[in-house]
Point group: C2
Chain length 128, copies 2
DNA sequence: CAGTATCCGTCTCGATACTG
DNA sequence: CAGTATCGAGACGGATACTG
């Protein structure tokens, strides 16, 4: 018995959208900027990341970093010194997303102005 | 004066992650499956979409469709008949995201198994 | 059919304070 | 420095009922 009733889907969700899982992993809130920063600027410490990302709170930054670490996209290295030092770097697996980011960057450069124009031209009601 | 205080960023947010805006637009909740369905299965009516997406509620589907329409990625056509008929189709601008989706699909096919292995291998604590 | 209008629970995020 | 603990606010989604 289902937990709650939902209108039956005609197709399996992941069949219907095969890129769902990877989207959830890579494009959740904050994960893209984190991966970008690590990719572009190399290995960084916790606070460096926090500053570069512009005001993400430590709690959320920790959450996202743990998740990325679990997924194998980011590596964490702890140095037992005083003061303690922790470094985060992107893994080869994470770096392999570069082509995806590049495709996104190219699309953005080529088409984002059209989006702007569409937004200005749009007059209909926006619910929310 | 700032609304709330945040630790100063060392760099401008969009400078820091140029693909932020396009990510917000394309990979928000439900938008990717909607675009995928319209891209793969062509023009569809409201209820067809709802069924194919597997139980999204009309409220949320409307919200997302309006947003996509405003951004110029989806076109809405109203036919004043009885019963009324509304059709949604992806625009050329929306279709141009195909290369991005393709890149994601390829990455997923090539690397998602590595992610699975990383997840299984991960023992550390996951906050949440 | 194609939505809109409400109400409400959940879950995430953010702000703030505190610790090893 | 590198986090953890706690609390509150708000977005988001689900259920249900109603309209043109």
């Amino acid at each position: 018995m289902a937990k709650t009733w939902r209108p039956e889907a005609d197709t399996d969700p992941v069949e219907a959208c095969p890129i769902g899982p990877v989207v959830d992993m890579v494009f959740s809130r904050w994960t893209t900027p984190i991966l970008w920063a690590l990719h572009e600027c190399g290995t960084q410490r916790f606070v460096e990341l926090q500053r570069r990302l512009g005001g993400i709170t430590p709690k959320v930054l920790t959450q996202r970093l743990r998740q990325l670490e679990r997924d194998g996209l980011v590596a964490r290295t702890y140095h037992a010194e005083v003061p303690p030092r922790v470094e985060y770097e992107i893994t080869d697996l994470g770096r392999s997303l570069g082509s995806v980011f590049a495709a996104l960057g190219e699309w953005s450069a080529a088409h984002m102005s059209e989006v702007e124009k569409a937004r200005e031209a749009y007059t209909g009601p926006l619910p929310r």
